[in-house]
Symmetry: C2
Subunit: 142 residues, 2 copies
């Protein structure tokens, strides 16, 4: 029997069983059957979970990820969506880069108060005018 028990999947994928049930409810994964009450899974579910994890870190929502699987279970990833997400990431990366540099500067800046540091002020103005980033959708930090 090559089937995996839910505990096995949970352990191997590093994902709580509750999450596996939740993903199943959302249609992201499916179990091949039950042994008694317990869900059994095809080993392929591990790959699928990896795909889901990947999508999450790229900033896709679970619903978006669900769209990425064809009814037959094979990934059907729209290359344009990937490219678009890559561009989005690129944008975000630049923003974060500016932010990081400014934070570093502010951390080292000799001005008595941050408000008196020109670099910090420039950053502030950018933030005020939405030049850096406005709070919006969220992506994982780590």
């Amino acid at each position: 029997m090559t089937e995996l028990d839910i505990a096995e999947v949970s352990h191997r994928a590093g994902v709580p069983a509750s999450t596996l049930r939740y993903y199943e409810e959302k249609g992201l994964i499916s179990s091949t059957g039950r042994r008694g009450l317990r869900r059994q899974y095809d080993p392929g579910v591990l790959e699928r979970l990896a795909l889901i994890a990947l999508g999450r870190t790229a900033g896709f929502s679970l619903d978006e990820i669900a769209q990425m699987f064809a009814p037959d279970g094979r990934p059907r990833i729209d290359r344009r969506k990937l490219a678009a997400k890559a561009d989005e990431l690129d944008h975000r990366i630049r923003e974060l880069g500016v932010l990081r540099d400014s934070l570093r500067h502010a951390a080292a800046c000799p001005a008595p108060s941050h408000l008196e540091c020109p670099t910090f002020r420039r950053l502030l103005d950018a933030a005020a005018s939405g030049g850096v980033a406005a709070p919006g959708r969220r992506v994982p930090l780590r």
Copy 2:
């Protein structure tokens, strides 16, 4: 009178009035008084809002940001915290860079299915082993 009406602040800072009330409730900003019922603000609140926006985009929570103001209202930013956040950002930036490159590759990859693309598979394995990033705290995407 140099005081600003809440509508004025809302408009100039690009922040809904409901958010201003919420921030006040959280102790992030304060109004100087009322004209009738309406909150009046010192123009300095705009700078403070910029500071808050900045903190948000850097990934600080509102509570953390609240800690960054001394009781007198002046920013009291711990330089070590800034440096730590910069390091965190740096880490995240690297991760996102890898992710972006891989997405771009996958978008252009000629393999019939992404699962057959070596680059994509490497990325998958990284995601599976937590090598890229595990979902956790959130920071603004844009």
